[in-house]
């Protein structure tokens, strides 16, 4: 198994007293889906953002296809990685088609065609949705569009920051199914930040538990359940009633 991403000893301090990440290391295999889980303030979003250099770490290295990300142009790096934030992050003054075709358009390709294909991929009919404004979409539709936008440029890695966190339970379940389905068909490497343990278990091949900027345990879901490495991981699972 080749590592698509190798995170080594990442440390990030916001100030002398606030440490967001403290020497976190983990490998992500090609085609694997990894969930970063933890409470708010655990550093999971910061870790995700160091991958596409939206946050520059104070120490540590991230290898992307055997090259240090710090040696790459951040703009070029980001265009190879899809990104889905919690609120979708759609540009409100662009119609759906233009939003989805953003990255192809940035790299000088015909965004429109790619966009329509990507919309079909996430289960939205381009004929109905391509010309809509983002504010005319429901929350679930908006997240589908955001995922379509992230996939449109055929990225090597997909970064998702609590993509289903703001949705109601039914819509969330629908989108989780759709996402699992997509990954099965496309085999895209993905990092999924979530605070929902069930979601992590459902969708991820491996789960990284973060607590106060440290990596508590990194293992497949069933291993975490069977043999929690620390007291924190154990109580986390007990509190979530995942049994």
């Amino acid at each position: 198994m080749t590592a698509a991403l190798r995170i080594e000893g990442i440390t990030k301090r916001w100030s002398s007293t606030i440490t967001a990440l403290d020497g976190v290391s983990l490998d992500i295999a090609s085609g694997e889906c990894v969930a970063l889980i933890g409470e708010s303030g655990s550093g999971k979003t910061t870790l995700l953002r160091t991958v596409n250099r939206m946050v520059e770490p104070d120490a540590g290295v991230i290898w992307f296809n055997d090259r240090r990300t710090s040696d790459l142009d951040p703009v070029e790096l980001r265009r190879q990685m899809g990104y889905v934030p919690q609120d979708g992050g759609l540009l409100p003054h662009w119609r759906v088609r233009r939003n989805v075709g953003l990255v192809p358009w940035l790299t000088g390709k015909n965004g429109g065609e790619v966009a329509d294909r990507a919309l079909s991929l996430v289960g939205l009919d381009p004929a109905t949705f391509a010309t809509r404004w983002p504010s005319d979409l429901s929350g679930g539709q908006r997240q589908r569009v955001a995922i379509a936008r992230a996939l449109a440029a055929d990225p090597k890695v997909l970064l998702l920051d609590e993509p289903f966190g703001a949705l109601d339970a039914i819509t969330r379940a629908e989108l989780q199914d759709a996402f699992r389905d997509l990954r099965r068909r496309l085999g895209t490497t993905a990092i999924l930040v979530t605070h929902d343990l069930r979601e992590a278990i459902e969708l991820a091949d491996r789960v990284a538990v973060l607590h106060q900027g440290r990596l508590e345990q990194y293992a497949p879901p069933q291993d975490l359940l069977a043999s929690p490495a620390t007291e924190y991981v154990k109580t986390l699972f007990e509190r979530a009633h995942v049994r």
Partner: protein, 517 residues
């Protein structure tokens, strides 16, 4: 034969007629007497063949005098006391008229090259006035007399006179004058209040037309408490150099105007509402300064009941021109400045605050600062309006860009937009409504502020407002103020349509906010 004729014509025509050279620019300050005297200067020069340009109603001494020293105007009526107190900044000197004239004229000639011609012949200093009945029953002819009986009388004085060191405090010091009570009255009502017996003593100016109208008695300043305010035509250094003949013409008025005449003319203006041009024309006639042929030409004075719509349209056009040019210049400067500031957020607040401080400078002061640099007229007015328009545009553009949908901007960057692309394709379009709001605010303020252009002779709808205020002519004020208000509404309306065009997509999207949750 033909050759002879040419020779004769050459002999008759003077070498150069004055009107071939540059015009003489006549200025005035914004009050009735200054308008009348300036109009007399102008008509006298015209009668002697000079071309004249009028820049009447300049905002204040601190605008008119620097404009004269710089040559932006050539002549305006000024008072020796003002020269002493306001221009030389000296309040300690003697109150002897001859000494003050000598001091002011020599020092300012040395300092600025400005020439104070021989005084016109009357003084317009403070006057203390009482009803004729009061004067008769208490035997009052001087202020010393008044001081004896002062504690039994009620004063109605202007706030300015109560506060100025050369006003009421000076009377207390020199005469020991103490009135039973002192009420602050507006200049417009004090004569009426005196005539009706609401107060017993008022302050005014020696040449007020109302002194005649209400038959009040002016008490003699027997101990010379007030500085002398002799009226003088002051002449720019450039006029002395370019058109010495014009200076000579102006000095024909020296020592020709006495207090009684000036008071009568002021009365015609203030009470009978005779147009300034007519008063000046008749005044010059009564002084025998116009030839019979010049007297026959009536000045084209507009009658009070008529509004000259052509003139109003021209003023509105000029007003719009001032607003349009200053606004375009402000937009072209302020938006790029705000864009630069978003790249340096630490310095941004300081810079924007500095731009905001400009807003607090009173219009007349800002314009006065600019006279040494740009003189008077349209250009300094444009610079002033431009400075006043910057703040709302810079502030709104900066805030709009900084606060534009942070989620969208962050996602755009995370997907691989460069900083420049985020600015152009995301932040700027999302900030457009806020930027447009700033531009609209600036434009409406600009339409209002542009009336101050009249203070420096740049024209516009401020012209009738300033002269209307000076001549207490409500109709004239409204003939400027109403079009200015309508213009503000129209400009805002046009910009509202522009805003809708600029923000079409979002306007459409905003119609269904309920579905966006």
């Amino acid at each position: 034969m033909k050759r002879h004729l040419i020779a004769i014509l050459a002999l008759i025509a003077p070498a150069t007629t004055p009107s071939e050279s540059r015009p003489v620019i006549v200025g005035s300050k914004p009050f009735g007497e200054s308008y009348i005297l300036a109009e007399m200067f102008a008509q006298l020069l015209e009668a002697r063949g000079f071309r004249v340009e009028r820049r009447l109603g300049l905002g204040a001494t601190l605008i008119a005098y620097p404009a004269l020293a710089k040559g932006a105007i050539d002549v305006y009526p000024e008072y020796t006391g003002t020269g002493l107190l306001a221009i030389l900044g000296d309040s300690t000197s003697s109150t002897d008229p001859k000494a003050v004239y000598a001091r002011v004229s020599t020092e300012l000639e040395k300092r600025d090259g400005v020439r104070w011609l021989a005084p016109l012949g009357f003084e317009n200093t403070y006057a203390i006035a009482v009803r004729k009945a009061t004067a008769d029953s208490l035997h009052l002819t001087t202020i010393s007399d008044l001081a004896r009986v002062g504690s039994g009388l009620r004063g109605g004085l202007t706030a300015d006179f109560i506060g100025r060191p050369d006003g009421l405090p000076k009377l207390g010091a020199v005469y020991g004058l103490h009135l039973a009570e002192v009420k602050a009255l507006l200049p417009a009502v004090k004569y009426q209040a005196l005539a009706q017996g609401a107060v017993d003593v008022i302050d005014g100016y020696e040449t007020d037309g109302s002194i005649e109208r209400y038959h009040v008695v002016v008490l003699t300043d027997d101990r010379h408490a007030f500085p002398p305010y002799e009226a003088v035509a002051v002449v720019s250094p450039m006029l002395q150099r370019d058109l010495p003949g014009a200076v000579l013409t102006l000095s024909e008025l020296s020592d020709r105007i006495d207090v009684a005449r000036m008071r009568a003319w002021n009365r015609q203006l203030e009470v009978e509402r005779v147009p300034v041009a007519t008063i000046a024309h008749q005044a010059l006639g009564s002084l025998h300064l116009l030839s019979d042929s010049a007297m026959a030409i009536r000045p084209k004075a507009q009658r009070e009941s008529e509004i000259d719509y052509g003139h109003l349209a021209a003023l509105t056009g000029r007003h719009l021109e001032l607003v349009a040019i200053s606004m375009v210049a402000a937009i072209v400067f302020a938006i790029p400045l705000a864009l630069l500031l978003t790249a340096a957020p630490k310095r941004a607040e300081t810079v924007i605050r500095a731009v905001g401080v400009l807003q607090t400078i009173p219009g007349i002061a800002l314009v006065a600062f600019m006279i040494p640099l740009f003189g008077i007229g349209v250009f300094p007015a444009l610079v002033a309006l431009w400075l006043y328009s910057l703040y709302p545009i810079v502030r709104n553009t900066y805030t709009g860009i900084r606060d534009a949908d942070p989620g969208a901007a962050d996602a755009a960057k995370a997907l691989g937009m460069t900083g420049r692309q985020v600015l152009i394709y995301v932040r700027l379009p999302l900030a457009a409504p806020v930027i447009m709001a700033g531009i609209r605010t600036a434009a409406v303020i600009d339409v209002g502020t542009a009336t101050l252009a009249a203070f420096i002779g740049a024209g516009g709808l401020g012209d009738p407002i300033v002269s209307g205020l000076a001549l207490s002519d409500t109709r004239m004020i409204l003939s400027g103020a109403i079009p200015a208000a309508l213009l503000a509404l129209a400009v805002d309306g046009v910009l509202a349509v522009t805003e809708r065009v600029v923000t079409t997509g979002r306007g459409r999207a905003r119609r269904s906010p309920s579905r966006s949750r």
